[in-house]
């Protein structure tokens, strides 16, 4: 059957659509041909696919061919069955007839004859030629058509349709189309069935020796082709897939070794998209298909269908795997293939695929498919690029290939081509060899920037020199090698090619030696001599020229410039496509390769941009090793571009990389660059983030604790990543309040330049007062020359963690705590009881620091009115063991207790300057008492009062204030103010009473002295200076008997002194004295008290104590003595109360009788002598008075006239109370005689128990 192949091929080429046969019975075709062919290609046809599912086709091309056409005739029956796919899929029978008779006699038998062949799908088109106005003709045509339908149509299937030539019905064409489609569908189904049966039969015989792949191929491809003609591309594709599968199985079967192919000229150009590249007959030999061509053919057919299906993505995806797998096959057969055939084929295949798919790709696919597509395109470009670089390397362009990780990864793991024998140097090529040698010599070793020394990455799997020579002279490979090695010196893994270029001394040696051999004569017998590198290049170039048939490709390899151009094109293609895909890293890395080329060509701007992207990629994910490879390049670009900011940043980044990545020397070079640029002339200061290089942290341990308002010094640790000392011109650090971000950031500055050593540095900063809260370190900023840097990075007590290149970890630990305002000190008065007034007294002030040092504190003392400080006296200060504090300390712990108890007793005398006292140092931490001598002044004389109506002095009178202001803290920033109240009093409170009126007019006056102070008072003497109208009895001055003195009065107790006086005029000499309105009691006394409890010896007395001239204190008090009524005019008598007694709540009438004792003769001037003004006074707490309290009562001026004044009163409280009193304000007291004469008490009983008085008790 193999001989049918040629025919099959030509049939396939000639027809690419379905054929519809036209049986033109009545010579109608020429008339209606146009109308029919206008319907082509059919739209919206519905066919069945292989699985008998309906498939709607947008377009189905077909061709109408007359059965009389030569193409449909003269076919052998055998051919017909084999190439059945080209037979007509439908037969249209065209008839016309206007006469029923004619139909019956002629047309019907003829039609029966035509349609009797059941194989064919047919239907009849009746063409009516009748003109529309010719009713007769129309009618008969209708009749004939009706007859026709009866004869040929069945219930199952209508096989007739009618075409009116003159006025075709609209529905006709649709009808026709559906009928044709139906026929095609049926035919197709039948034929598919047929082919499937045949294929199944063949498949069953697969393992028999007679089985022939060629037959299978023809059947399978026929079926596929038929599907393709019917536009059932999916099915066609499936057939090809099955065919490929089957082929791969047979071709891999052992014992069926065949010719592989691929040795013909032009085979190096991949034909994986061109099914018609070679005629099938050429690739089939003795029923065997050459793998090289046939697999490409199959793939071409598949890809053609996929492109028709608009699936370029699938073409690319299948294509990529096809190339990979096919490349493996090529590798297996590399021995028989031309030199580098495999590389060239892959290269061309990738390019072809890229061209085909990229042009077809229109972007109307889901985004993920689109991304995948771009990824595949990128992969294809990338593969292509690798192969291209390999070829270029072989012919000596390796020097132009960047030894980057990406190139090294793809090239150094790609084995060398393995030709059976390495190509040898062609004859007469010594000039070329010389040229190549020159090229090698001229190549300047590429020096890395900053003098970085690195072993270059390999681009070759093994040393090319060795590989080529080994392959070339397999006979004495071992010897050649050793000899060679001996000459060249050390040969390491990275290859002499590399070492030649990197070390100039070796290069000279290596090149000098072969130069002696390079005389032309040596070429002829070069088989014994190992080839030199230049020779290998020349030989490879020559061999490649033989292999490569594509002129464009060869041109790309013809010169360095061309190579570079192509290289750039491929790299860009790969990078662009990767950028559109998910594979960003691939894209960015290739950008770096483009940058390298740009850099070489002086296009530094572009290079820098691309390098920046690469650096960002590597830095972002912390791939420091890779970053260290690219960053110097970027820095160099920026240096050349004079991008100072960028260059500085790059240098800093280089410095912040892992220390192990660069030598110290290199790192020092980076630093010196930083310093040089920073101090150079720059237009604008550069801002730079050096978080990775300079890190900082607070000192370990608890945070610095400060009270509100206190300044302090903050010590921080700064880690410098610079390899050497670096001077920071300025330095500042911000503090951030935790929990309160908007509180703002406080910057702490250090004005002086700081030199940072490599590694750990401790820096101390002044800390101004901060608001309460806890603070963490914020940002470190500083300046080196014009470089303003900032660092956000915190180190946890170690050097910069290079892993966190971009991460800013905030430490949770605060560095500073400023406490909320709290009492830091307390000032209190020592005593609670009163001090002596008008005497200098010690006022004790307790100064108690509360966990805060009072070092260098200053106390301002300001006394209030009525108080003055005894300036002449020094102020005493002594330590104070606070009992309550000590108790608290004991509770706290033993240590505190010991501290308290061990506290030394201090005592010091201080002087007051301008109202200020500097506190001594010893008092800074312990409580102390400050004794201040003060004197309260009160000019008024104290008054004694009658014991009947005691009138206590108001406490307020003895109150004095001392305003205290304590300035303390580190810079006297803390101020504590307090005003203390100190109570002063007289030593005694005096009350008097007349105990007895003797008959002889002597009055016994008892003076009761109540001690007012918490001190022991000793009375040494007491005397009374009497007022006018009173005189002492006896001859003495009225002093009490002296033997009673000294009289000691304990604190709070009372004493009494009895004076005997009588009414009387003083002597004449006394009259010269001013009339004394009141008597004065004088008491000479002494006081013994403790100043810490209250009144005590006056300060001056204490101080003059040693002299012995003790000055006794004198207390003076005024006493008013009332003379008895001498000239009564009116008598007021309190009338007795009812005998039932008084009760609370019971009204009672109080009655007074006022009686005129004698006439008011001398008071005649008064206007209303017959009226008297009265007033009732009562304690409102005890009594409620109903009625007029004050008023005039008329009383006759005659002697003896009397009236009774009564007032209704209500007692409010029970007990002995003073009743209301009737007073006569208009009458002098001396003229009123009262009964009872003095104040008296009445008894008020509690109210009678009554339920009405029960009030609910509040809960």
């Amino acid at each position: 059957m193999a001989n049918f192949l040629a025919q099959f091929q030509s049939i396939k080429n000639s027809c690419d659509h379905l054929v519809i046969a036209v049986e033109d019975v009545s010579d109608l075709w020429p008339t209606i041909k146009t109308g029919f062919e206008e319907r082509l290609p059919f739209r919206r046809a519905c066919l069945n696919n292989k699985t008998r599912n309906s498939v709607f086709l947008e377009k189905l091309p077909a061709e109408f061919i007359l059965t009389t056409d030569a193409r449909l005739r003269s076919r052998f029956p055998q051919e017909q069955s084999l190439f059945w796919f080209r037979e007509p899929y439908a037969t249209v029978v065209l008839v016309t007839c206007e006469d029923l008779e004619e139909f019956k006699t002629i047309l019907k038998p003829r039609l029966k004859l035509i349609v009797q062949n059941d194989e064919r799908e047919w239907f009849i088109v009746f063409v009516s030629k009748a003109a529309p106005n010719n009713d007769q003709a129309t009618k008969s045509a209708k009749k004939v058509y009706a007859k026709l339908e009866v004869e040929f149509s069945s219930k199952k299937r209508e096989r007739c349709c009618k075409l009116d030539l003159h006025c075709p019905e609209a529905s006709f064409w649709e009808d026709l189309e559906s009928k044709i489609t139906e026929c095609i569908r049926n035919t197709l189904d039948r034929r598919v069935q047929f082919y499937e049966d045949e294929i199944r039969k063949l498949s069953e015989q697969r393992l028999l020796p007679v089985w022939n792949f060629c037959n299978f191929f023809i059947l399978k491809e026929s079926l596929a082709f038929m599907f393709e003609m019917a536009h059932l591309h999916e099915d066609a594709l499936r057939e090809y897939d099955e065919l490929e599968l089957c082929y791969l199985e047979t071709v891999n079967m052992s014992g069926k070794q065949r010719d592989f192919g691929g040795v013909e000229h032009g085979d190096d150009q991949a034909a994986l998209l061109n099914p018609g590249n070679k005629p099938l007959t050429q690739i089939v030999q003795d029923d065997s298909f050459r793998e090289f061509e046939f697999r490409q053919y199959l793939f071409a057919c598949q890809s053609k269908l996929l492109l028709k299906l608009k699936r370029p993505f699938e073409v690319a995806s299948r294509g990529y795997s096809f190339i990979i797998s096919f490349s493996k096959s090529l590798a297996l057969h590399e021995k028989i293939l031309p030199f580098c055939m495999r590389e060239v084929w892959v290269l061309t295949a990738c390019l072809a695929l890229i061209n085909a798919t990229a042009s077809q790709h229109n972007g109307v696919v889901p985004p993920d498919v689109e991304k995948e597509f771009y990824r595949l395109e990128g992969d294809l470009y990338s593969l292509c690029r690798v192969k291209f670089m390999r070829l270029a390397y072989l012919i000596g362009y390796g020097t132009d290939i960047e030894r980057s990780p990406v190139n090294s990864a793809s090239l150094s793991m790609l084995p060398w081509p393995k030709p059976p024998v390495w190509p040898s140097v062609p004859p007469d090529s010594s000039s070329k060899v010389l040229e190549k040698e020159k090229l090698i010599l001229q190549t300047v070793p590429r020096v890395k920037h900053f003098g970085i020394e690195r072993k270059p990455l390999p681009l070759e799997p093994t040393v090319l020199l060795r590989e080529a020579n080994r392959r070339r002279a397999s006979l004495s490979a071992g010897n050649v090698f050793e000899m060679f090695d001996g000459h060249i010196g050390s040969v390491d893994g990275s290859g002499p090619d590399a070492s030649i270029r990197t070390s100039p001394s070796q290069r000279v040696r290596a090149s000098a030696m072969p130069r002696t051999n390079s005389s032309p004569g040596n070429f002829d017998n070069s088989i014994d001599r190992p080839m030199r590198l230049a020779e290998i290049y020349v030989a490879a170039e020559h061999a490649l020229q033989q292999t490569i048939s594509d002129a464009d490709l060869w041109k790309s390899l013809s010169s360095l410039e061309e190579f570079e151009q192509k290289y750039l094109e491929l790299t860009k293609g790969a990078a662009d496509n990767y950028h559109h895909s998910w594979w960003k890293r691939h894209g960015v890395v290739l950008d770096g390769e483009i940058a390298a080329v740009c850099f070489r060509h002086g296009n530094f701007d572009l290079a820098a941009k691309s390098y920046e992207k690469v650096c960002a990629l590597h830095a972002g994910e912390g791939w420091q090793e890779l970053l260290a490879e690219v960053l110097p390049n970027l820095a160099e670009c920026q240096k050349i571009l004079n991008d100072q900011a960028g260059y500085l940043s790059s240098c800093v980044r280089l410095l912040s990389l892992d220390k192990g990545l660069f030598l110290t020397k290199e790192r020092e070079a980076f630093q010196s660059e930083v310093v040089r640029i920073a101090h150079s002339e720059m237009k604008d200061p550069v801002h730079l983030d050096v978080s990775s290089l300079i890190t900082f942290s607070g000192n370990p341990g608890p945070p610095l604790e400060l009270c509100d308002g206190d300044p302090g010094t903050l010590s921080v640790t700064v880690w410098s990543g610079f390899p050497g000392d670096i001077t920071l011109d300025s330095f500042s650090l911000t503090l951030m309040a935790t929990y309160n971000a908007d509180e703002g950031v406080k910057a702490l500055r250090s004005s002086i330049a700081i030199v940072l050593k490599p590694g750990r540095n401790t820096i101390t900063l002044d800390l101004p007062p901060q608001k309460p809260g806890s603070y963490v370190l914020g940002v470190l900023t500083g300046q080196i020359g014009h470089l303003r840097f900032r660092s956000h990075s915190f180190s946890k007590g170690g050097p910069a963690d290079s892993d966190d290149f971009m991460s800013y970890e905030k430490p949770a630990r605060p560095i500073l705590k400023v406490f909320k305002p709290r009492p830091l000190v307390d000032l209190a008065a020592v005593i609670s009881s009163a001090l002596l007034i008008n005497e200098p007294q010690w006022v004790g002030i307790i100064v108690r620091p509360i966990n805060y040092s009072l070092k260098a504190a200053v106390l301002h003392i300001d006394t209030g009115p009525g108080l003055k400080i005894e300036e002449s006296q020094v102020i005493e200060m002594e330590s104070y063991a606070d009992v309550s504090q000590a108790n608290a300390d004991i509770k706290l712990g033993d240590g505190a207790q010991i501290g308290t108890l061990d506290a030394e007793k201090h005592f010091e005398r201080l002087t007051l300057h301008d109202g200020k006292i500097d506190l001594p140092d010893w008092a800074s931490d312990t409580s102390s008492i400050l004794w201040i001598p003060v004197c309260a002044i009160n000019d008024t004389l104290t008054r004694g009062s009658s014991s009947d109506t005691p009138q206590r002095q108001s406490i307020v009178d003895g109150l004095r204030t001392i305003a205290l202001k304590l300035e303390f803290g580190v810079s006297h920033n803390q101020i504590f103010e307090r005003t203390l109240a100190v109570h002063f009093t007289d030593p005694f409170y005096v009350t008097t009473r007349v105990t007895d009126k003797c008959d002889d007019g002597t009055l016994l006056l008892q003076v009761i002295l109540q001690s007012e102070v918490k001190a022991t008072l000793t009375i040494y003497d007491a005397w009374l200076d009497l007022q006018d109208g009173f005189i002492h009895t006896g001859v003495g001055d009225g002093r009490p008997t002296s033997c009673f003195f000294p009289l000691v009065i304990s604190p709070g107790s009372r004493a009494g002194v009895l004076f005997t006086i009588r009414l009387g005029k003083t002597n004449a000499e006394d009259e010269s004295k001013a009339v004394q309105p009141e008597s004065i009691l004088n008491i000479r006394y002494e006081i013994y008290g403790d100043r810490s409890t209250g009144a005590h010896l006056p300060v001056a007395v204490t101080s003059s104590g040693p002299d012995g001239s003790k000055r006794d204190l004198i207390f003076r008090s005024a006493i008013v003595l009332q003379r008895p009524v001498l000239d009564p005019c009116l008598a007021v008598g309190f009338l007795p109360l009812p005998s039932s007694g008084l009760r609370v709540g019971q009204l009672v009438t109080m009655k007074w009788r006022v009686e005129r004792l004698k006439d008011f003769e001398e008071k005649i001037v008064s206007q209303n002598n017959d009226e008297v003004l009265y007033e009732v006074n009562a304690n409102s707490e005890n009594w409620m008075i109903a009625g007029r309290k004050r008023g005039h009562a008329s009383i006759s001026t005659k002697q003896g006239s009397r009236i009774v004044i009564s007032i209704l009163c209500l007692p409010l409280v029970a007990g002995y109370v003073r009743p209301p009193q009737l007073g006569l304000p208009n009458v002098d007291e001396a003229n009123v005689s009262c009964n009872p004469s003095g104040p008296h008490l009445v008894c008020v009983l509690p109210p009678v128990l009554s339920s009405s008085f029960c009030v609910p008790v509040d809960s």
């Binding site: 795997s321 490349s327 493996k328 090294s408 084995p415 990275s494 594979w583 791939w623």
Partner: protein, 143 residues
């Protein structure tokens, strides 16, 4: 032959990378591992495509190249293990087995209280264990 194994953190930062080649060309392996993250990312971000292997830690062959193979493994904590081998004929089971042991070694290494999470693994014990696992790669199935 396994040429390189690597542990890559969840932020795609290298945590451990060890090459097993004699030549001084570790950088190219860094590149291969780094670029293979593209594939891991792609698979993680496109769960549709990964289909049934979604819940599996073993990512399989990341991409076929002509000359070497890269396998990936993704732990639940999004730590990636990458294996680069020049062996073109590798059995999936061997790789799975390798990763399982490697994972165990990794878990032990990061369980060390002195290990800082997400920082480079510097444990010498881990390095030794990894080197043993690499040495024994493929032996168990061959034997």
């Amino acid at each position: 032959m396994i040429v390189c194994v690597a542990v890559v953190g969840h932020q795609n930062n290298p945590l451990y990378i060890q090459s097993f080649t004699e030549a001084d060309d570790a950088l190219k392996l860094h590149h291969i591992v780094h670029c293979s993250l593209d594939v891991v990312d792609e698979r993680v971000n496109n769960p549709k495509k990964s289909g049934p292997t979604l819940n599996e830690t073993f990512l399989g062959l990341l991409y076929p190249t002509e000359n070497y193979k890269v396998y990936g493994y993704l732990t639940n904590t999004k730590v990636k293990f990458i294996l680069v081998t020049t062996d073109l004929d590798v059995r999936d089971a061997d790789v799975r087995n390798f990763f399982r042991r490697f994972h165990a070694a990794y878990v032990d290494a990061v369980s060390n209280p002195f290990h800082v999470p997400d920082k480079k693994i510097t444990s010498r014990t881990f390095a030794e264990r990894v080197s043993n696992i690499v040495k024994s790669f493929g032996l168990s199935s061959a034997g």
